[in-house]
């Protein structure tokens, strides 16, 4: 490749990386900028006011709630969705299209609509403003994604592999640990990451059902106090980036 073309390509790649990375860097810088007045492109004074205010306003509790709900909803979705994904992946269903349609239906409905509808019953059942209620509400949108991500892993060849291992005398627990989970790893990691991220980013459902999560605490600050909004956004961006890196490393491909 000629030097000019190589330089052009490098400049283009750098521009793309900058376009992706700069907004994230800006969030972090704005989060620690106690003073950043225009027209300056750099902050005049750095500090921790944004993070301090965020934690004073309940960021710690919201962070814990978001993490607990995302992990619990994903784990529950995995437990409930695993058998269905297996049946769908191994093509053992008479009407797979109908099952996929029912599973996919909640994804077509606005999260806030689902949340508003659920509050009607959650109030009566004492589930409103509770962690359990929020997990159940998130399950409505997390479960379809987890099942859809898992389906691709349950191929007929995996079933054959399991049957061979069973004939060699493996107990069900060892079969799961030594054969099924390793063979299923890419789909499993993607399903866990996807389930976690879908729950992590939920706003409408969480707002309707109660208990402030990180997005619910963040939104009122967006156009009011950029430093606090950026501090909260910085907190909110860490788990998704860790999920992306973990997915890329464990599956050798991005999400």
């Amino acid at each position: 490749m000629p030097d000019g073309a190589r330089a052009l390509r490098r400049a283009r790649d750098t521009a793309v990386v900058a376009a992706v990375a700069l907004p994230l860097v800006t969030l972090v810088v704005q989060g620690v900028a106690d003073e950043w007045r225009g027209p300056s492109l750099l902050p005049q004074r750095l500090g921790t006011r944004g993070f301090a205010t965020a934690f004073d306003e309940g960021a710690g509790g919201a962070l814990a709630t978001s993490l607990a709900v995302a992990l619990a909803a994903t784990a529950l979705a995995l437990a409930l969705g695993w058998p269905a994904a297996r049946a769908l992946g191994e093509r053992r269903l008479r009407h797979p299209g109908l099952v996929l349609l029912v599973l996919g239906l909640p994804l077509l409905v606005p999260g806030y609509a689902t949340g508003v509808g659920l509050t009607e019953w959650f109030v009566r059942l004492g589930l409103i403003d509770t962690l359990g209620g929020l997990v159940l509400a998130h399950l409505v949108v997390v479960l379809p994604y987890v099942v859809l991500a898992l389906v691709g892993g349950f191929t007929p060849s995996l079933r054959q592999l399991e049957e061979q291992a069973r004939t060699l005398g493996l107990t069900p627990a060892r079969l799961l640990l030594l054969v099924t989970v390793p063979a299923l790893r890419p789909a499993l990691v993607t399903a866990v990451a996807l389930g976690f991220l879908v729950s992590w980013g939920q706003y409408g459902l969480s707002l309707a059902v109660g208990l402030p999560t990180l997005p619910v605490v963040l939104l009122p600050y967006v156009r009011v106090d950029p430093e606090v909004a950026a501090a909260l956004a910085t907190l909110a961006i860490v788990p998704p980036l860790l999920a992306l890196v973990a997915t890329a490393r464990l599956t050798r491909r991005p999400l």
Binding site: G38, T114, L118, T119, E120, V140, Y203, A236
Partner: protein, 280 residues
């Protein structure tokens, strides 16, 4: 597996397995929709026992701001979905023969929540934002503008990469083999694109675009963060109804959200038909 075992599996095993996932969805989602319908018919507080009625629905039909919200939601949704789909198609065709690094870069916005992208848009593109400081005032207001350009921009930044990753998964080795077969039969570059590539990606692109449109139609956080105060989206209209009237507003909110739900389902039907005709 023996034929008898397979038959037994089809008859007994899968039903229990599938119901384990379907029951929570049917119960939770079904009660949510039933709850929303009941709330939309709720007459609110008043003297004596009051029967369910269509008061909230009549109010929606009379309220011009609801019409504005409906139009604003549809316009931003369709625009964001169409732009994302076109960009994703172009990007996936450009990237399909490239290595893992460009694919990783494209997938970077995927895990970032919509609200965080909206925060970034406000910091960069809002009044007094970094772009304005660097190059001067922008010719159009992107944050808080009545046309909803900022809302569309945030959706495109988030959804074009999602659709690109989806299409890159479709544009795999098997499709390349079919293209090679077409090439040996004398098909040119544009003919291969028209008759081999586009039919293969049309179905997944339609279904992916449906997920994008359904999200954009009902999302609350992006319009609240970067959208105008008026007109609102359908979800924003619903939220405001509950804020203005904590009791009576619930019925209006539920009715407005059910309209968004119905639109979303209609879009779903259209996308399914498109995907099916592309496969045929």
């Amino acid at each position: 597996m023996t034929g008898r075992a397979r038959k037994r599996d089809r008859e007994a095993g899968p039903s229990l397995a599938v119901w384990l996932a379907l029951v929570p969805i049917v119960v939770l989602f079904g009660t949510a929709i039933a709850g929303a319908v009941r709330q939309s018919l709720d007459p609110g507080f008043g003297p004596g026992e009051r029967p369910l009625g269509l008061g909230a629905w009549r109010e929606l039909a009379r309220d011009p701001t609801f019409g504005d919200a409906l139009w604003f939601s549809l316009r931003t949704t369709l625009l964001a979905t169409a732009i994302s789909a076109v960009l994703a198609l172009a990007a996936s065709l450009a990237l399909r023969h490239r290595g893992a690094a460009p694919r990783l870069l494209v997938s970077l916005p995927l895990p970032v929540p919509h609200l965080i992208v909206a925060v970034g848009a406000v910091l960069w593109l809002g009044p007094g934002g970094l772009v304005e400081r660097a190059v001067g005032a922008l010719p159009v207001d992107l944050v808080g503008d009545r046309a909803g350009a900022g809302v569309v921009l945030v959706y495109v930044v988030k959804e074009a990469p999602f659709l690109t990753v989806l299409l890159l998964a479709v544009l795999g080795r098997r499709l390349r083999e079919r293209e090679e077969v077409a090439a040996t039969l004398g098909a040119g570059r544009w003919q291969r694109l028209r008759w081999v590539v586009l039919p293969a990606v049309a179905g997944p692109l339609a279904l992916g675009s449906l997920v994008v449109a359904a999200f954009a139609l009902g999302a609350l956080e992006v319009p609240l963060a970067v959208g105008p105060n008026a007109p609102q989206t359908l979800a924003g209209y619903a939220l405001q109804a509950t804020q203005l009237d904590a009791f009576g507003g619930q019925a209006t909110a539920a009715a407005s959200l059910l309209v968004a739900t119905a639109l979303s389902l209609l879009l779903g039907l259209a996308a399914l038909r498109l995907a099916r005709s592309a496969r045929a």
